[in-house]
């Protein structure tokens, strides 16, 4: 089955009803996407499908055919939100962090605090109390809005992938030997 995974066209074979979460972690060996509750409550497994956050534990593999899927690996290590989460200690145990960052990216550039709070209602964090996470997302806005804006467009635009694609370093593996 063909799809675009972290900017690269890939072909991956898996049972059509296997959870997107399991195909990412097992077939694609992209273990940055975490399993929390396994029932759509916690958002730890959040990935972007065509720019929209979804719980990868609730998506059958067949339903991402032809779609553009972005996982935390698709950001490389250089995304300003990743640095901001480190700087503001927005991550403690780290299980919620990949999902938090992808949900935050889906909000687009410079989201106001209320939009951040609403946009992260589907992501539970049991360590930080959320304040550090909100600070991290806001700090990207205040520190370097142009970088934030560029980075946000990079992964939320499903119609126009960036020229040169995503950082090529981490795109995972597929059964087709992509």
């Amino acid at each position: 089955m063909k799809l675009t995974l972290n900017g690269a066209d890939v072909e991956v074979e898996a049972h059509p009803m296997k959870r997107l979460l399991d195909v990412l972690r097992e077939e694609c060996q992209l273990t940055g996407t975490k399993e929390g509750c396994g029932e759509g409550e916690c958002g730890a497994c959040t990935v972007l499908v065509d720019g929209e956050p979804v719980c990868a534990c609730l998506v059958p593999w067949a339903q991402v055919e032809g779609a553009e899927v972005t996982t935390i690996e698709g950001l490389g290590d250089a995304h300003p939100l990743q640095q901001a989460f480190m700087d503001e200690v927005g991550a403690q145990c780290g299980i919620c962090t990949p999902g938090m960052i992808l949900a935050a990216i889906a909000l687009g550039p410079n989201p106001p605090l209320e939009k951040i709070k609403a946009g992260l209602t589907g992501n539970l964090c049991r360590c930080t109390g959320y304040e550090a996470i909100y600070r991290a997302i806001q700090s990207v806005r205040s520190a370097s809005p142009r970088v934030a804006s560029r980075a946000s467009r990079r992964v939320t635009s499903d119609a126009h992938p960036p020229s040169g694609g995503y950082p090529a370093r981490v795109t995972g593996q597929s059964s087709s030997g992509e």
Binding site: E39, G40, E52, C57, T121
Partner: protein, 276 residues
């Protein structure tokens, strides 16, 4: 323990007519779309309770449209909660549905969960269901042979059971033009990611219409309460409502709590919509 998926089959029709043909040939097929309920069952290991062969409706874009005419609003069964929140037609014609959609899960669930799934899943706690009941919606069912229009308030036959035949799909829901002020409240454990303890929708028309979820085996309209409101007495209406609902104790709440809060919500509805 998660459901083993090895034996499961997923059929993937290209068009909704193909889907109806597949259902005609194999009425044991279980339709799926956003999977926000169905895959919770998969994760709990109970997915095969409904069958082991599934029909993937998710890619059938024509069933996702939201349109408005002078006859009212038509919402395709595959419209997601996000589609509903963003739709200017729904915002204009049925703002209480936008309010309900906003309070379902979080963005991840709103991006996948569909209104047709909420109807078909037939949970007494489904958040869009009181809205559809209060709005006197019509459910459009299609089989390979025919179309059937069922008033939403006759769609449920009991706890988690509906009039939908196995060879039928819910293709859309129609909402007639609404007069009066619309009102919606959901009471859960927290603001997001919560299943309702009580969910209520009301339309302050003449006569007023009230529908409530999580207080009976199905979502219910409360005709005697509505009649009392139409007569102008909120105190009589509250007494009627206490008789008309049958809440239970369960994992999410108690019958006492549900009864007390539901009666308070009726007073709130009457006060909030008074000036309109």
């Amino acid at each position: 323990m998660r459901t083993a998926i090895g034996e499961l089959r997923l059929l993937r029709p290209k068009t909704w007519r193909d889907a109806l043909g597949m259902l005609h040939d194999d009425p044991h097929l279980v339709p799926l779309a956003g999977c926000t309920d169905l895959y919770v069952a998969l994760n709990f290991g109970t997915l095969t309770a409904g069958g082991s062969r599934f029909l993937d409706l998710w890619p059938l874009a024509p069933l996702r449209r939201i349109t408005m005419t002078s006859d009212g609003l038509t919402i395709g069964a595959l419209a997601t909660y996000t589609d509903i929140i963003k739709s200017r037609h729904v915002r204009k014609a049925l703002p209480m549905l936008v309010e309900a959609a906003r309070q379902i899960g979080g963005p991840q669930i709103q991006n996948r969960g569909t209104i047709g799934g909420n109807i078909a899943n037939a949970s007494p706690a489904g958040d869009t269901l009181p809205v559809l009941a209060a709005a006197d919606a019509i459910v459009i069912l299609r089989s390979a042979a025919a179309e059937r229009r069922v008033p939403f308030n006759k769609f449920y036959t009991g706890y988690r059971t509906t009039v939908r035949r196995p060879d039928e799909l819910i293709v859309s829901v129609e909402i007639p033009p609404q007069r009066g002020t619309q009102w919606f409240r959901k009471v859960g454990t927290r603001a997001a990611q919560a299943i309702s303890k009580i969910v209520i929708a009301g339309v302050r028309d003449d006569p007023p219409r009230i529908a409530i979820g999580s207080v009976a085996p199905t979502v219910v309209r409360v005709p005697r309460t509505e009649a009392a409101l139409a007569a102008g007495s909120i105190d009589d209406a509250v007494k009627m409502l206490a008789e008309e609902i049958k809440p239970i104790d369960d994992v999410r709440s108690t019958a006492d709590y549900r009864r007390t809060v539901t009666l308070n919500l009726l007073r709130r509805f009457w006060a909030d919509t008074a000036s309109a």
